[in-house]
């Protein structure tokens, strides 16, 4: 029965409206008490968190850890180490694994791999349709019982609205959350950049905002029709923020997240053909970025995700449209969130809530807060500590970050997952 005492940290716990210097007492993997030492408490480990911030461990709604068919890009081992060093204690795995997350055996294999990697809190998202082909429904209930936390068709299209309607009705029957990545495939038309001045100048196949907003509008209508709980993942544009805001005001049971890079980068960053900035949905205009920030501040957008997509070097070596999309982004999640705070886009409390309480609420998981009795998922970070992204500091196998070589401000010093220290900066 390990007992851990976290001392003198500034505890920020939006779920419990706590912001102040104090102590946390952990017994047997659970939060035992805040402030006052429980009776008979004798610390085996004392962590001095003076001048640091202590909050719940981060919950990432969209990650890809590769492995299986893609171990060149990343393995559970490399990517969970990256997650731990980034303060992330819960990961949701997109279903476009290889093989696809559409069978209980694959879910069990994934859970087993997570256990063996000593990072058990990996929640697979089940494929909405078999093989993600968008035609036949997956065995959602069995997948849920095997441990899947939601259903999604990842970035693959569902063949038509009738199939989507039925999939959402079926998901709703089993009280499953549907995670939607809104994208009308006929409109996005194999594009790789935002349809605007930059794509026009460089002759890049482009994706209009309408590809996202039309698909989002359709899904909102179906959410009302079917009563399915819908979470919209990785929104990229102004129109989507407005539509989500209206839908919430209207009373629909929907939520949304934004990938951290969409809050910092724009279409201009791809100039002239920098594949490090090739992401889907594409980086859009400054106005879109500003709306996404405002949406986060106003609550129209609930949470921030990493949208972690590690790649091998070859995936990004080529002419821009031929390279693979995605950023290895777990390790920049915290410093880039803190940058939003220093730029006065959101408050620190909002930023922490967007990484903890909000995703926990969306997933209905008893985590994301420092509530007594909860599993002790804790992130301790130094908001002032500067560090450079280089081969010494980086843990993900994917070095595909546009921030490579840059100095980041804010670094995790300790991460606890269910009361176990899974990362400690000094121990490096």
């Amino acid at each position: 029965m390990t007992q851990i005492h976290i001392q003198h940290g500034r505890i920020i716990d939006p779920a419990n409206h706590i912001d102040g210097v104090g102590d946390i007492y952990i017994i047997d993997g659970k939060i035992a008490a805040l402030s006052n030492s429980p009776e008979g408490f004798k610390a085996d480990i004392v962590i001095d968190a003076s001048d640091k911030i202590v909050c719940a461990g981060f919950i990432d709604l969209s990650s890809r850890l590769r492995d299986m068919g893609h171990s060149r890009k990343g393995t559970f081992k490399s990517e969970t180490r990256a997650a731990a060093s980034a303060g992330v204690t819960t990961l949701c795995l997109q279903p476009d694994t290889r093989p696809v997350m559409d069978a209980t055996s694959i879910v069990e294999y994934t859970k087993d791999l997570a256990e063996r990697t000593d990072y058990p809190q990996i929640y697979p998202i089940a494929a909405l349709t078999q093989k993600l082909e968008g035609i036949e429904l997956s065995s959602m209930l069995a997948l849920k019982q095997a441990g899947c936390i939601a259903v999604s068709n990842a970035n693959a299209p569902v063949k038509n609205l009738l199939i989507l309607r039925r999939a959402m009705e079926y998901a709703a029957s089993h009280d499953l959350l549907f995670i939607c990545h809104p994208n009308d495939f006929s409109l996005s038309n194999k594009g790789c950049a935002h349809e605007g001045a930059i794509a026009s100048r460089y002759g890049l196949p482009s994706i209009p905002e309408a590809a996202e907003t039309i698909a989002l509008a359709e899904c909102l209508e179906l959410a009302e029709l079917t009563g399915c709980r819908v979470h919209f993942g990785q929104l990229s544009c102004k129109g989507s923020v407005i539509k989500i805001h209206q839908a919430k005001k209207y009373g629909l049971n929907v939520s949304a997240d934004v990938a951290i890079h969409q809050l910092h980068l724009t279409e201009h960053d791809i100039i002239p053909f920098d594949s490090a900035y090739h992401v889907l949905p594409p980086l859009r205009t400054k106005e879109d970025k500003d709306y996404l920030r405002q949406g986060l501040a106003s609550g129209a957008i609930n949470s921030i995700c990493s949208d972690h997509q590690p790649h091998d070097l070859d995936a990004k070596l080529g002419a821009f449209p031929e390279t693979e999309s995605g950023i290895s982004s777990l390790e920049t999640l915290l410093p880039l969130m803190l940058k939003l705070v220093s730029q006065h886009a959101i408050s620190l409390e909002q930023g922490i809530a967007a990484l903890t309480q909000q995703p926990a609420d969306i997933l209905r998981l008893p985590t994301g807060a420092l509530t007594v009795g909860f599993s002790a998922d804790v992130c301790i970070f130094d908001p002032e500590l500067e560090w450079q992204i280089n081969t010494d500091t980086w843990k993900s196998r994917g070095v595909n970050t546009p921030f490579w070589g840059q100095t980041m401000k804010g670094r995790v010093t300790q991460t606890l997952q269910a009361g176990k220290i899974i990362f400690s900066l000094e121990a490096r």
Partner: protein, 321 residues
């Protein structure tokens, strides 16, 4: 702003990938150098020993006859050794990556790649990846750029209308898919023309087209008013099947350049086309072969202009122009 990998540390031309990022002085230098290769008496192009001992590889991942031939002729007039590689029928079909192809050719001690590729950004990628002594000339990449075509068009315009600052230029047709149009628009703006006007239906114009530095018209009759230079673009047949246009005959009716439409432009307007021409689709034969047409001069000028660009790009590698 385009991070200019096209110039070396002394500001000399090294790669020629896109018009973007060059200034008027450099573009004018290219035109003047090209002019120096043309014999003023008979219009023939001299053979010069500027690139003797250098090896130039024409690396064509996409079919082309005219462009490849004029590049080959230009290299030979500069006394370089030329190797033509049509990669569509070569190693990439065996699964070799673009980068592997480049690395293998580098190992054969080449000095310059002339690259044509179907993907936007391919020439830029190759320039970033090649050994530092190798120059890369973009002979057309996807829908991005075709800068040597733009320069030979500027050369042709200057032969007829020496003062760019007075000109209104119309570019007509499929701007959306045209690398030629993108490079022409940039070159014309850098050389300081009064107006670049694009004339096309909305389906053939890219988003935020005005940001490229053009005015827009969807009507040929209105658009041709006061125009000094008419640049026609080729209309690919697949534009009909992808629902961008209803059909050839309607397109010709709206945007085809006929003798009658030509009369709307200034009486001394010149008519240009990068080829190959679709007679009766975008241009009437009578106009293509008429006295205002300079289409064949464009082809001839391609040799001198490409000589100038290749020679200047090799200066960093010992060529003295």
């Amino acid at each position: 702003m385009y991070p200019n990998i096209q110039l070396n540390s002394d500001g000399k031309l090294k790669h020629f990938l896109s018009i973007e990022g060059f200034d008027k002085t450099l573009l004018t230098d290219i035109l003047d150098t090209a002019a120096s290769f043309v014999n003023p008496v008979d219009g023939q192009i001299k053979k010069v020993p500027l690139l003797r001992g250098k090896t130039i590889v024409n690396l064509f991942f996409e079919n082309s006859t005219r462009t490849r031939t004029t590049f080959e002729l230009a290299a030979k007039r500069l006394s370089a050794d030329v190797l033509n590689m049509n990669i569509t029928t070569s190693s990439t079909s065996k699964g070799e990556s673009l980068l592997d192809t480049i690395r293998n050719l580098e190992a054969m001690f080449v000095d310059m790649f002339v690259v044509r590729h179907a993907i936007s950004g391919a020439a830029h990628f190759i320039a970033q990846q090649t050994a530092p002594h190798i120059s890369v000339i973009n002979a057309g990449d996807g829908q991005h750029a075709h800068p040597t075509q733009a320069m030979l068009d500027m050369f042709t315009i200057r032969q007829h209308k020496p003062d760019f600052s007075k000109l209104r230029v119309a570019i007509i047709g499929d701007i959306l898919h045209s690398r030629v149009a993108r490079s022409e628009i940039q070159a014309l703006n850098i050389l300081g023309v009064q107006e670049v006007r694009v004339i096309a239906p909305k389906t053939l114009l890219p988003a935020k087209v005005e940001a490229l530095g053009v005015t827009v018209s969807h009507n040929l009759t209105e658009g041709l008013q006061d125009i000094d230079v008419i640049m026609m673009l080729r209309l690919q047949k697949e534009r009909m099947t992808s629902a961008l246009l209803p059909g050839e005959s309607e397109y010709f009716k709206c945007f085809g350049l006929t003798e009658e439409k030509l009369k709307i432009a200034k009486p001394d307007a010149i008519v240009m086309h990068p080829g190959p021409i679709n007679r009766g689709v975008e241009i009437d034969s009578k106009v293509a072969d008429g006295k205002q047409s300079v289409i064949l001069q464009q082809v001839s000028n391609g040799i001198a202009v490409r000589m100038a660009i290749m020679a200047m790009a090799m200066q960093h590698n010992g060529a003295i122009v």
